[in-house]
Point group: C2
Chain length 260, copies 2
Amino acid sequence: MKNILVTNDDGVTAPGLLALALEMTQVGKVTVLAPDRNWSASGHAKTLHKPLRVKPVSIHPDIEAYNSDGAPSDCVSLALMGALDRKFDMVVSGINPNANIGHDITYSGTVTAAMEATIRGVFGIAVSLDSPLGIAGDLDYSTAAKAAKRAVLNVFKHGLPKGVLLNINVPYLTEENLKGFSITRQGLRIYHDELVKRTDPRGKPYFWIGGEFPTGLEENQTDYGMMKTGYVSITPLHLDLSAYSAFETLTAWDWNKQGG
Amino acid sequence: MKNILVTNDDGVTAPGLLALALEMTQVGKVTVLAPDRNWSASGHAKTLHKPLRVKPVSIHPDIEAYNSDGAPSDCVSLALMGALDRKFDMVVSGINPNANIGHDITYSGTVTAAMEATIRGVFGIAVSLDSPLGIAGDLDYSTAAKAAKRAVLNVFKHGLPKGVLLNINVPYLTEENLKGFSITRQGLRIYHDELVKRTDPRGKPYFWIGGEFPTGLEENQTDYGMMKTGYVSITPLHLDLSAYSAFETLTAWDWNKQGG
């Protein structure tokens, strides 16, 4: 039986994590190790300067779960380095209640947890739900959980190319209304960040990074474009950020160390 | 005159930042905005859940400097969104006292600060020094500072392709002993992380992620390989992580939503 680690960046008590963990019990033996608090937009961290705790927690009778005071990527490191005395075949991270598309990827704790798995040679999948703003009550994670199961089954069947992880974004639709799955490239997020400057009760300035929720460019075959058209977006990502197309240009510059 | 923002992930008082800021005064008007503490291996963060402070600090009579309680990427966001009431033409991040090569890039606050500049449409350069372990006394940042100046002058002269940042790694050599500059691709870091399990004074377990300092594969034309051979490594990076080579394979999988 396959051993599946489930983690996230919203913390071990998040409903998206529980929905994912329960769905994964249909595929293999599930263990949860997730942060003890919310780490959204925390990026890819590695905690080396302090000790990390791993504690058993109750989130559901059918799920063996632990939390840690580390970041999402720390949770993956701890588990894959043996803190739970078992080996894992797959790391699935999510379900994040908001999409992780375009440049979100570099900020996203959900995605960097899957990256950490890839760096450590284990399959990694990140799952996010494009929930609309202003939903009253609980989010419905069932479509996203089923999409995650489809991806996990495929990865166990076919494997992933070396160094590749999957970033999955699921529209907020019932399964019947999904148009299908689409293999996509990373698209372009459009951020609407605004700097809000205020003065505190002691007359000192402070800043919030505020503004409207980010949108994106609805281009064909991109994560954002296909997700907004009703497809589950499956983006294969790798960790080679080299901009090969720039090599020739840069090589022609004057790099004489005596110059300037 | 060009406006240059200097930041880092080690904190505003780090000697590598001062060496970089002083060198940059030969190229343009320099402003420092850097974290008030060490954020090494913190990844690409965006602080949205709390207010951020920006305070003037003294680091050198010739340098106008501020600190912030945000992450390195927050410092860049704050400055580029107008917290210092000026516009910037360039963000230079560093000088980090250790190399940032291979997968280090995704963890590195130094590199993610330059990424944040790129996302916000401003030139971004990260500068790191491959200092040997166990140096007694202060590190010599002069070769790295001069290499950074060469890169900044080139970028101001030629521009950078859209969406591209530069990740610079400098060997710990005197300028005369440098072999030159080399345009490189991202190589492969080899981590030697070990999980250390201990028991605290109250009998409870805790973990450290420990182990030897990471090494790397000395391949030709990679960041690690060329740096170790005595060249300043200049790696153009972009933020499109799509693994295009995996598209065909993944498209052939069974994505029938009824399956599984």
